[in-house]
């Protein structure tokens, strides 16, 4: 499922959050939106999800205009920065939520819901934790519940807002590699927002560098490091990781 944004503009009062942003994400790609805070990356992600509306421009899913499709009908998986788990529901019920709220005629039977949720919990390595509540989990576990919940509705695209932002360094590194393999295994089309260049360069197929509501450069990690298109990109990416690690050692 490809994603295409066509000249998206979004203003908040006098501030322009996004100006004429056009972006293409091919089916099966894992793309990072990278930029400092206030660069418009989260706004772009939320517009793709349907959580916000652009002032002008279009969002297309696989070539079809989805700009005015309500958020619940877009079949996107969205992982919130602070997970937004339902605090009054168990892990199991959190994951089952998207199935349970379907209209009766397309709602799976209880047995099927159970099977699918259990399978998802296994996939995110949370077997046996279905009866726990969000507050009884670690940050990394919550993150994985949020992912399982998003995947339960079999989304066409997976959108993640700072997926590792609230985790400590060690857990971040583990989850990064795990997210990449999950993306490959499930053959998803994924977009994630981050302000951490290392994270973006390490796992994304392509990185979109954003600044001040505009796209500065789009390219593979290799392309960006080899030939940054602007001073901003060069500064923001900094020296390659390998070099930094050498000097740090």
């Amino acid at each position: 499922m490809s994603i295409h944004t066509d000249r998206i503009t979004r203003r908040f009062g006098a501030h322009t959050a996004l100006a004429d942003v056009g972006l293409h994400v091919a089916t099966g790609e894992l793309v990072a939106l990278l930029g400092p805070s206030g660069s418009g990356k989260t706004t772009l992600l939320r517009i793709i999800a349907g959580l916000q509306q652009p002032d002008s421009g279009r969002v297309l899913f696989h070539g079809a205009d989805a700009t005015h499709v309500p958020v619940g009908e877009r079949r996107v998986g969205f992982v919130f920065q602070h997970y937004a788990l339902f605090r009054h529901l168990s892990v199991f019920e959190n994951v089952a939520f998207g199935l349970r709220v379907r209209p009766r005629k397309c709602r799976p039977a209880d047995g099927e819901i159970r099977e699918r949720v259990d399978a998802l919990l296994a996939r995110v390595q949370l077997e046996g934790l279905g009866a726990r509540y969000p507050h009884q989990l670690s940050g990394g576990q919550r993150q994985r519940v949020a992912l399982a919940r998003a995947l339960a509705v079999e989304p066409r695209v997976l959108l993640l807002d700072e997926p590792f932002g609230a985790l400590d360094a060690q857990v971040r590194k583990e989850l990064r590699a795990w997210l990449r393999s999950l993306h490959d295994e499930m053959q998803l089309t994924s977009v994630f927002v981050t302000h951490d260049q290392e994270e973006a360069l390490e796992i994304a197929d392509r990185v979109v560098v954003m600044n001040d509501g505009r796209i500065e450069q789009v390219g593979t990690p290799g392309e960006l490091l080899a030939s940054p298109a602007s001073d901003f990109v060069a500064k923001f990416l900094g020296r390659p990781r390998a070099v930094r690690e050498l000097t740090a050692a």
């Binding site: 203003r11 009062g13 006098a14 349907g50 959580l51 916000q52 509306q53 002032d55 958020v71």
Partner: protein
């Protein structure tokens, strides 16, 4: 989108919820209050002025606002003491006291009125000890004061308690390491931090006291020019079918209420800002 009336949101139900809220609040509160303003215009300006400044009404303002002010001040001082004791010390029955602080919110005012009268009358449990000292409480302005102190008691306690609860001990420790004694720490470190909450509680207690009726009329004796509160003047005028007069006095009180609500909202947002800044 500076021109939009509301910031767009993906959540549904805004129009329904706001529409219902506006219709309800208009029907129950705003339109009826507007009736006061409209009815007041039935009087000429000089009639209005004569009504709201007649000696008996003036005396009632002095009593209502004066007693409310003193009651709120008393509650600020003793409310702070109660909040302090409840937050920082341990003593038997603390939980019960903490729960009972809200009694003046929960106890119907008429019940409070007759109970206070029974206690503070000349032969009452407490009144019998005060009478020999020449202090008459029931059926005097002091009785009005007692009733207003009662109904205003929870406000300062409840606004100060959370601030005291979350007060950073490091600030006091820092002051102590700098050589300040306990009194200095209290006056220079703790009190300034509590000031917005104290002021909010004071204003809430004052606002409540100004309009209070039920608990006061039993203990006040209601002697014109001496122990007659302004809300009672409104009721008396109504009972004499002097609607215009009742409305005129009510409009003066409404004006005060509006001013107090604005002050309270201002204070509370100041409180919040102040409070979050220390974090």
């Amino acid at each position: 989108m500076a021109h939009a009336l509301r910031r767009p949101s993906v959540l549904p139900g805004f129009n329904l919820a706001l529409g219902f809220t506006l219709v309800y609040i208009s029907m129950i509160v705003l339109v009826p209050l507007a009736a006061v303003v409209v009815k007041t215009t039935a009087l000429t300006l000089s009639q209005f002025w004569d009504t709201v400044t007649s000696p008996r009404v003036m005396a009632s303002y002095r009593l209502t606002f004066g007693a409310s002010l003193i009651a709120a001040l008393l509650n600020t001082v003793f409310g702070l003491a109660l909040a302090w004791v409840l937050e920082r010390y341990e003593f038997a029955g603390k939980r019960v006291v903490d729960a009972l602080v809200d009694l003046p919110f929960a106890l119907p005012t008429a019940v409070a009125g007759i109970a206070l009268t029974a206690i503070y009358a000349g032969n009452g449990w407490i009144g019998q000890f005060l009478e020999p000292l020449g202090v008459k409480v029931a059926y005097t302005p002091v009785g009005v004061l007692i009733a207003l102190v009662f109904i205003g008691l929870p406000f300062v306690v409840r606004t100060v308690q959370p601030v005291l609860h979350d007060f950073e001990a490091e600030l006091e420790e820092a002051a102590a390491t700098l050589g300040a004694n306990r009194w200095h720490v209290f006056v220079r470190v703790i009190l300034p931090a509590l000031a917005p909450a104290l002021l909010t509680g004071f204003t809430l207690a004052f606002a409540r006291a100004v309009g209070e009726y039920g608990s006061v009329i039993f203990i006040a004796g209601n002697v014109p020019m001496v122990s007659e509160i302004t809300p009672l003047i409104i009721v008396t005028k109504l009972e004499q079918f002097d609607y215009a007069g009742a409305t005129a006095v009510a409009s003066v009180m409404l004006l005060v209420s509006f001013a107090l609500i604005l002050a309270i909202n201002g204070l509370q947002s100041w409180n919040r800002r102040r409070y979050t800044r220390t974090h």
